[in-house]
Symmetry: C3
Subunit: 468 residues, 3 copies
C-alpha cells in the first residue's frame, strides 16, 4: 500500500484542489534550498554509511523521543545514554521495536508525515509501521543503509539539494567543511556562525569557552575590544567556509544599545563572573546589537531564534543533559525588545535580520507589523513546534495580511534528521500551494501571480534573503 | 419543524461530510462518561422532579443569564435573588418569557445549540423558542417535568450515562452520595475533592472553614502537619465515595516547592491571617504541590482549572454573590508556574495531572509542548468559554500537532445544567469526528485509525485518564 | 478584464457559496454607515477636486507607504516630506510609478483588495496596476479627478453614505463642519471628540495644548475642576456639531478610579510637568474614567483604541514625524485595566463603551467575556492591521461564541483613504455574509435568522450603538 496520499494537505473543495495540484506540479521538482538546519557536516565529509534505523530515526529526533517519553517509555530504553553511567539500551533493533509499537502516538502530528514520507520515498517501505511490522521494516531500512546509494552524499544528490547550511558553534574547527571543500564531491554544504556558547554568561562552560575562544583567534578575550575582535575573526573564518549567516538562540528577543563605556563595563562584570541574572540578560541583549553592527560591516545575515525555556526538567537535564525534548516555548515580546537593535541597524539596506518565534501570538500583533515596515527585518518561517501543516498555514494567514509575502524568507527545514529533509520541504511546498490556491478561490489573487509566488516561496526568497 | 440539523458541525465538502457521518455513527450511541462537572448529587439522591422550566434552563445557567444581563435584563428579573432583601422575580413563567423573548441573543453561541438540543431531544419541542412561543413551550416542558420519566434518575438512564462525577468542597458531608449508594438505584455518581475553600487564604470564610475542617476530620488544622493530615483524611473519605480525582480552581497556575520548614512558616503566617497577597498566592502554589504529593500516595488524579479573575464586578458581587457571570479569563503562564510541581511529580508514572486553560494562546505554545513530554501531564479539553464547536476545533488543531491525541483526556461537560449533558457530548463527538475527517481528507490519517481514535476520544481516554 | 471576482471572500463549498451570495444580495445596496474614521471634513466643506492619483492613493495611506518602505523605497521618494528640509519627490506621476512598479508587494494583503476595488469601481480601471500600466492608469484617474462627479460631495452621494463621522482633536475649530452645515448640501458629516492631545501628559505639546484649551473654552485649565469643565464645554460644542461619540487612543487600556482629592493632586503634578512616567499613565487612566462619567451625563458614546506603540523608529519619527507606519501593536490587558472604569459606569444602561484591540488574543479570552456580561460594554470591529478578510473572520469566530452578535457594533472603515470606503464596507459585508453562511451550513443558524442578522450587522447595530 501507499503510505502517502498524493493530494495530502491540499484543499477539500474541487476548485482549490485543482489549483493546488497545478501550483505544486510547477514547483515540486525545484531543488531544495536549505539555509538553516542542523545536519552534521561529518556525514558529507566522511560519507560513511548511516549506522542503523534507530540511529537514523529515533535517537537523534527529539520530536520522536519526547512523545514516547510522555507516554511512559524511558529515555534509556530509546538508547539515550544517562550521565550517571547507568544502563541504557544499545540494541538498535530493540529501540526500533519500541518506537514502532508506539508509532500510533504520532497520529495527527507532523512527525507522522515526515516519517511516513521518509520510509516510503527514501526507503521504499510500503507497510504501515507498527509493532507487527517493526522487524520487517527494520531489516528493509538496515539493508538499504549498507548500499552506496544510501550514503550521505548520494542521498544529498538524490534529494536534489542545491545548498545546505549547517550550524556550528564559535569554537568549532570547521574541519568537516574543510574536508568537503577539499574533496572531489561538489555538494554545497556551508556553515553558519552560532556563537551562543561564547555570548551567554549563563552557559555552564562560559569561562572556559572564552579561553578557548582566545586560543582559536589569538585575540585577548579578557578585554571588550579583544572579545569583539575575536568574533570578527571567527566570522571571517566562517565566511571563508561558506557561511552567509549567523544564528542566535537566546531565551528572549531582548536587544540593547549601550554606550561603548557601559558595554565595556558590562563585559568586565560578565567576564569576571560577578554578574547578576539581569546583567547576563543585558549582555546577551547588547551582543545581539554588536552582532548586528558586525553584520552591517561584513554582510552576514543575522538570525534570532528566541523564546525557548531550555531544560525545563531539572531531573532530565541532570541525568541526560541538554536537548532532550524539555525545551518549552514561552511568551516573547518583540516590540520593545527588538527596538534598540532596530534603531541601530533596522533601516540599513545592507543588513538583513531574520526573526523567528515560538510565540504564535506575535505573528499578527508584533512581527508582521514590524517586518512590514523595517527594511532590514524579515520573518523566518514557522519554527520548531509550529513546523507543521497547520502551523505553516497559520503563519501565512497571520503574517501575509500585514507583511505580505515578500517580507518572508521561504522555508527552513531546521532539522538534524537528514532523511526528513525532502519530507519537510514537501509539506512546506504543499501548504504554500494550498494557501495560494485558497487566495485564488476567494478572489484575492490571480492565477498568474500565484504561479510566480510559488516559485518565489520555494526558492527565490530563500536565496535572496540568505544571500545564497 | 426540527430544531437541529442532522449534519450539524460536520465538514462542508462531500468527502469530509461522508467520513464525519460514518465516524459519528460508530460512536454516537456509546455511553456518556462524565468525569468532571457540577451536577447536584441531591437530584439523584432524592430523585425529586425538577421544579419548573426556568429553574432548569435559566436561573442556574450563568451562560444564559450573563448574556441577558449584557443586553439590559436585570438579574432580579431572571429570578436571581439579591442579598439586600430587595424584590426579585419569583414567577418562573415570567422568567421564562423574558428568556424566550431574548433567545435571539444566543445566535451563533454554543448555548443556542445546547438549549435547542435539550428542548428537542429531551422534551420533544418542535417550535423555535421566542416571545411568541414562550408560553406554549413552557407548558410543554412543565408538563413533562411532572412525569416520572423526567425525574433525575430516569433522565440519567435515558441519557445513557455510564458514570458522572460531581464536585464537592472539602467540607461537604457527602450525604447525597451516601444516599445514592444506599439506594437501590445503580447509577454511578461519584464525587470529586475540591478543597479550594480550605486552601485559599483569600477566601472570605477561610478561617471559619479551617475550624470546620478540623471538626470534620478531628485533625488539628492550626498546625501544618495537622492541616495536611486533615486533607489526607478527607481525600480518603472522598475516595470512599467514589472519587478518583481532585480539582483545584486557582487564580493562576502557580506552584511552589518550598522546603518543609518554609512551608510550615508560610502556613503559620496564613493561618494567623497576617499574610500578604504574595504569601496567599505562594500558599496556594505550595498547596498544589502538596496535593500532587498526596496524589502520588493515594492515586487520585489531580485537575487544575486556573486563570479566572473571579467576581470582576464588585457591584454584582456585593449584591448577588459569586458565580453570577462575572468570572473573566486572563493570561496564564504555565511554563514557569507549573515547573516546581512538575519537578516533584511530573515524571511519576503513577501520577496524573490534568491541566485546563482559559488562555487559548497557551495551547500550542506551552501546554502541548509540556504535555507532549512530561509523563504525568495531560491536557484537559476546551473549557468554559471555549467549550464551543470552534473552541474544541481550535483545541485539537493547536494541541494535536505537538502532544498528539493520547496526551489528552476526552471530553468534560463540566456543567450544572443537567439536560444539556447529552447536547454537550453530542457537540464534542461531532467536532472530534469532523476533525478526524479533516485529517483523513488532507492525507494525514488513515480511516482505520480514525475509527479507533473516535472510540478513544469518546470513551477510552476519559476512562483511562480519570481511572474510571 | 475585471480586477475583482464577483464571488470574492465567499465560501468554497457550493451550499455555502449560494447562501453567501443570497445574503450579500440582500444587503449589498444598503447605505454606508460610517461611525468612526479619519476623512477630512474640509473635503466636504470645500468640495474641491482631489489633487492627483498619488495624493489620493499613496501619500496619505500608511498601509501603502510602510509596505514600500519595508522593501527599500525611501519615504522621500513617495512624496513624504522630511522635517530637515532635505529633498523629496514632488512629481505625483513619479510617486505613482514607484507605487505601481511595487504593487506586487501587496499580493495577499487587504490593501490590494481595497485598491483594486477603488480603481475598478470608482475609476473604471480595467487593467492590472504595474510598472507597465502605471502611466495609463495614472492618466485615467487624473482625468476623472477633474470631473465634477469625482468631487468629494458627488462621491459621498455615489458611495451611498448615510452618515460619516470624522475625528477632531479637542482644539479643533470645527470650522469645516460649520461650513458643511451652512451649505446647501445635505450629506451628514459629523465630528467625534478626540481629546488625546490635552489628556496625554507625554504629548510633546501638552503644556501649550492646555493653554490653547483654556483659551478656546474660557475655562481655567490650571485647576482640576476648570480642566474638567473645559472638557465638558468642548464636548458640548462637539455635540452641537453632530458628535455622538468620543474617541481615546491610549498606549494601554488602563483606567483608574481615584478619590477626587487624589485625582486633583495627580492633575497638579501633571500640569506642573513634574510627573513620572507612571503618573502620566495614571493620569491617562483616570481621565478615561472621567470621560466615562461625562458620557453618563451627556450621552456621548465612548470609544477606546488602545495598545499601539507609537513611533517605534526614532529615526523616522525625528525625520518625518508621527503616523509614518511605525505604530506597532503590543499586548494589551483588558481584564484588570478596564475594571475601575467598569466599576463606575459598566452597569449604566445609558452608557456605551466601545472597546477595540490590536491584540487579537484578547478577543476570546478577555473582550468577549467582558462584553458578554457588562451592559455598557460593546466590542468594536477588527481594527487597523486586523481590518482584513481573515482578521474579520477571526473576530467573528472568537467573539460570537461568548458575546454573540448583539454585543458588537457593526463595521468601522476607520480610514483617511476616501475612495477605499466602499471597498472596505464591501469586504466587511462579504466576510459577515460568509460567516453567517458557514453558521447555516454547519447547522448553527437558520436562514431566516441569517438574513435578519445581515441587516443588523450592516446597518442596525452601528446605528444603535453609536446613537445615530
Amino acid at each position: 500500500m501507499k503510505l502517502l496520499d498524493d493530494d495530502r494537505l491540499f484543499p477539500g473543495n474541487p476548485k482549490g484542489l485543482g489549483l493546488a495540484r497545478a501550483l505544486f506540479a510547477s514547483i515540486r521538482d525545484l531543488p531544495i534550498v536549505s539555509p538553516h538546519g542542523h545536519t552534521d557536516p561529518a556525514w558529507f565529509a566522511r560519507n560513511a554509511s548511516f549506522e542503523n534505523p534507530a540511529a537514523l530515526f529515533v535517537t537523534p529526533d527529539h520530536y520522536v523521543f519526547r512523545m514516547l517519553y510522555s507516554q511512559g517509555v524511558a529515555l534509556e530504553d530509546l538508547g539515550i545514554k544517562p550521565n550517571d553511567g547507568s544502563a541504557f539500551e544499545t540494541d538498535p533493533r530493540e529501540i526500533w521495536r519500541r518506537f514502532a509499537s508506539h508509532y500510533y502516538l504520532f497520529r495527527g502530528t507532523p512527525s507522522r508525515l515526515w516519517i511516513d514520507h521518509s520510509l516510503q520515498e527514501v526507503f521504499g517501505v510500503s507497510q504501515v509501521l507498527s509493532g507487527e511490522t517493526a522487524d520487517e521494516i527494520y531489516d528493509q531500512v538496515a539493508q538499504s543503509l549498507t548500499q552506496p546509494e544510501f550514503r550521505p552524499r548520494a542521498l544529498f544528490d538524490r534529494f536534489n539539494i542545491d545548498v545546505i547550511a549547517t550550524t556550528e558553534g564559535a569554537l568549532d574547527t570547521l574541519e568537516h567543511h574543510d574536508a568537503i571543500t577539499k574533496s572531489d564531491w561538489r555538494g554545497r554544504v556551508i556553515t553558519t556562525y552560532r556563537p551562543d556558547a561564547v555570548i551567554d554568561p549563563d552557559h555552564p562552560q562560559f569561562s572556559a569557552n572564552l579561553q578557548n575562544f582566545a586560543e582559536i583567534t589569538t585575540c585577548d578575550t579578557t578585554t571588550w575590544q579583544g572579545y569583539l575582535d575575536a568574533h570578527r575573526a571567527r566570522r571571517q573564518t566562517f565566511r571563508e567556509h561558506g557561511a552567509t549567516a549567523t544564528d542566535h538562540g537566546h531565551p528572549t528577543a531582548r536587544t540593547a544599545n549601550l554606550a561603548a563605556s557601559e558595554a565595556e563595563a558590562l563585559f568586565n562584570s560578565v567576564v569576571s563572573e560577578k554578574h547578576t541574572p539581569e546583567q547576563a540578560e543585558l549582555f546577551r541583549a547588547q551582543m545581539l546589537t554588536e552582532m548586528a553592527k558586525m553584520s552591517q560591516d561584513d554582510g552576514m545575515v543575522m538570525q534570532i531564534h528566541p523564546g525557548s525555556y531550555r531544560n525545563h526538567s531539572s531531573e532530565v537535564f541532570s541525568r541526560f543533559g541538554a536537548d532532550k525534548g524539555f525545551d518549552i516555548p514561552r511568551r516573547t515580546n518583540y516590540v520593545s525588545d527588538l527596538r534598540p537593535l532596530l534603531d541601530v541597524a533596522g533601516h540599513d539596506p545592507n543588513f538583513t535580520l531574520i526573526v523567528f518565534t515560538l510565540d504564535e501570538t506575535a505573528y499578527g500583533r508584533e512581527l508582521a507589523p514590524l517586518a512590514g515596515v523595517y527594511p532590514a527585518l524579515k520573518l523566518g518561517p514557522a519554527w520548531w513546534f509550529f513546523d507543521s501543516a497547520d502551523g505553516m498555514r497559520r503563519f501565512r494567514e497571520l503574517t501575509t495580511e500585514t507583511a505580505g509575502f515578500y517580507n518572508t524568507v521561504g522555508f527552513n527545514d531546521d532539522t538534524r534528521a537528514f532523511c526528513s529533509i525532502p519530507a519537510r520541504h514537501d509539506v512546506a511546498r504543499r501548504v504554500d500551494c494550498a494557501f495560494l490556491a485558497s487566495l485564488i478561490t476567494s478572489g484575492r489573487l490571480r492565477e498568474d501571480e500565484a504561479f510566480e509566488l510559488a516559485q518565489d516561496l520555494t526558492v527565490n526568497l530563500a536565496k535572496r534573503a540568505y544571500r545564497l
